[in-house]
C-alpha cells in the first residue's frame, strides 16, 4: 500500500506538471480576421465604432454630459485642449474585436495631433498617427507608426471617417459609425 501511495505522489507531480505544460492558462477568444485583398492594391481590413453605443469614455474639458456619467476630467488648463476617447472596436461582422483610444490635442510644441491606438487582445496593438487636416470627402488619413505582435512587422496607411446613420431608419438611437480602414503590408526586408 505504501508503494501505491508513493506511486500516487509521483503520478500527482507528473500530472500537475503535464497539465500546466499542456493546458493553456490563457486562451484569448478570437474572431476571424476580415481582411479584403484588392487586385493590385494590397489588402485592407475595416473596423468600426458604433456611436454612441461603443463609446467607453469621452474625456474633454467643460462637457455638458460627461461620458461615462460622473467622469471627472482633470481641471488643469494644460488639458483644456485635449480630447481623449476610448471605444470598443468591431470588425466587418459587427463583432467586438478590441478596444481603441483616440487622442486629439493641440499645443505649441506638438501642434495639432490626432492619434489612435487599436488594441486587439488576440492579435496585438497598432499605434497610428493621423494627419490633422481631413481630406476632401471628410476622411482623414494616417500612418501605422508602430505595431506590436501581429502588427510589429507591418507598415501602411489608415483612414478614418464618420459615417452618419440614416436617421429616418434608425431604431437604436445610433448617430452613425466611425469607420477605420487599415491597409497594412509586410515591411520590405533587405536581401541577405
Amino acid at each position: 500500500m505504501f508503494k501505491t501511495f508513493i506511486a500516487g505522489i509521483l503520478l500527482g507531480i507528473a500530472g500537475a506538471a503535464a497539465a500546466l505544460y499542456y493546458i493553456p492558462v490563457v486562451d484569448q477568444a478570437r474572431e476571424q480576421s476580415m481582411i479584403v485583398v484588392h487586385p493590385n492594391h494590397g489588402n485592407t481590413e475595416t473596423f468600426h465604432v458604433n456611436v454612441p453605443s461603443d463609446r467607453i469614455m469621452v474625456g474633454a474639458a467643460d462637457q455638458a454630459e460627461p461620458l461615462p456619467a460622473e467622469l471627472e476630467w482633470p481641471g488643469d488648463l494644460q488639458f483644456a485642449a485635449t480630447r481623449a476617447e476610448l471605444f470598443k472596436i468591431r470588425n466587418g461582422k459587427d463583432a467586438v474585436v478590441g478596444v481603441a483610444s483616440r487622442i486629439a490635442a493641440s499645443d505649441e510644441v506638438s501642434g495639432e495631433i490626432i492619434e489612435w491606438v487599436l488594441h486587439l487582445p488576440a492579435r496585438g496593438s497598432a499605434y497610428v498617427i493621423m494627419e490633422p487636416q481631413p481630406q476632401e470627402g471628410g476622411y482623414r488619413v494616417g500612418d501605422l507608426a508602430r505595431g506590436t505582435r501581429e502588427f510589429s512587422n507591418l507598415t501602411g496607411r489608415v483612414t478614418e471617417r464618420f459615417v452618419e446613420a440614416p436617421t429616418s431608419f434608425d431604431e437604436n438611437g445610433s448617430q452613425g459609425r466611425i469607420e477605420i480602414i487599415t491597409a497594412f503590408v509586410g515591411q520590405a526586408v533587405d536581401d541577405l
Binding site: 500500500m1 501505491t4 501511495f5 506511486a7 500516487g8 505522489i9 509521483l10 503520478l11 500527482g12 507531480i13 500530472g15 500546466l20 505544460y21 493553456p24 486562451d27 484569448q28 477568444a29 478570437r30 474572431e31 461603443d54 463609446r55 467607453i56 469614455m57 474625456g59 461615462p68 460622473e70 467622469l71 482633470p74 488643469d76 488639458f79 485635449t82 481623449a84 476610448l86 470598443k88 463583432a95 467586438v96 474585436v97 478590441g98 478596444v99 483610444s101 487622442i103 490635442a105 499645443d107 505649441e108 510644441v109 506638438s110 501642434g111 495631433i113 492619434e115 491606438v117 488594441h119 486587439l120 487582445p121 488576440a122 496593438s125 499605434y127 498617427i129 507608426a145 508602430r146 506590436t148
Partner: protein
C-alpha cells in the same frame, strides 16, 4: 479499496507538493532592480495611483475583482475583450504635478507559463503630455511576484487582505534587458525609440476590492540627441 485510497491520497499529496514547489521556487524570483537605474541618460518618470477609483476611467469585464470606475462606465464583457482592461488616468511628474494623460490597455497573455513563474500581461500605453508630445509604450508585464507576494498571502489571511511594503518592477519585456519599448509620436518625443520600466509600490491589498493603496511609476529613458555627432575640440 485501500489501494485506491492510497493512490488518491498520493495523487493529492503529489499535486500539492508540486504546487508548493512552484510557489516557493526561488529560481522564479526576479531581480527588482530597474535596468534604467544604471542609465547615463535622462529618465523621466510618470507616477499614478494604481487604485481604480483614483483613475479617470477604469473598466474591465465587470465580474472581476476590481470594480469598474465610474460605476456606469461601459464594461468589456464581449468574449474577445473579456480578459482585457482599459485605464485612463492622470500621470504626474516627479514633483507630483499633473503632467500627462495616460491610457493603458492590458490583456492576459497567452504566453503565460506558470511552470516558469510567468503570469504575463500584454499592455500598451498611449501617453499625451501637453507641451511635450506623445508616446507609445509596448510592454510585457510579469505579475508572478505580485501574485506570490501579495495576492496569495491576502487570500490566506484571515482578514482577506494584505498590508506591507512591496516594491517591484512588473516590466519583463519585450526589450532584451526586460524593459518595455517606447516610441515617440510627436513633439519633443517625435521619432525617439527608447526603453521604459513600470514598477509598483503596494501598501495594501484587499481580496474583495483589489489594490487599496498602490502607486505605480512609469520610468522612460530619454536618449541624448546628437550626442554622438559632436566632435571633440
Amino acid at each position: 479499496m485501500r489501494y485506491l485510497v492510497a493512490l488518491l491520497l498520493g495523487l493529492a499529496v503529489g499535486v500539492a507538493a508540486f504546487l508548493a514547489l512552484l510557489y516557493f521556487n526561488p529560481m522564479t524570483t526576479r531581480n527588482h532592480l530597474s535596468p534604467l537605474s544604471v542609465s547615463d541618460n535622462q529618465v523621466i518618470t510618470f507616477n499614478y495611483s494604481a487604485v481604480a477609483t483614483d483613475a479617470i476611467v477604469y473598466t474591465n469585464d465587470g465580474e472581476s475583482q476590481v470594480i469598474p470606475h465610474p460605476a456606469k462606465v461601459l464594461q468589456l464583457w464581449e468574449p474577445t475583450v473579456r480578459r482585457s482592461d482599459a485605464l485612463a488616468t492622470v500621470l504626474r511628474d516627479g514633483r507630483n504635478a499633473p503632467a500627462a494623460i495616460g491610457i493603458k490597455f492590458s490583456s492576459d497573455s497567452e504566453r503565460t507559463n506558470v511552470l516558469n513563474g510567468e503570469a504575463i500581461v500584454d499592455s500598451v500605453w498611449h501617453v499625451y503630455a501637453p507641451g511635450q508630445g506623445t508616446l507609445f509604450v509596448e510592454q510585457r508585464e510579469n505579475y508572478w511576484d505580485f501574485l506570490r507576494d501579495i495576492m496569495i498571502p491576502a487570500r490566506w489571511s484571515s482578514g482577506d487582505n494584505w498590508r506591507g511594503n512591496w516594491n517591484g518592477s512588473i516590466t519583463s519585456g519585450p526589450g532584451a534587458l526586460g524593459t518595455s519599448r517606447v516610441f515617440g509620436g510627436s513633439g519633443i518625443f517625435a521619432g525617439i525609440e527608447t526603453d521604459a520600466v513600470e514598477s509598483l509600490s503596494a501598501k495594501a491589498y484587499s481580496v474583495e476590492f483589489g489594490p487599496v493603496a498602490m502607486d505605480a511609476e512609469l520610468a522612460i529613458e530619454i536618449p541624448r540627441r546628437d550626442a554622438s555627432l559632436s566632435q571633440d575640440p
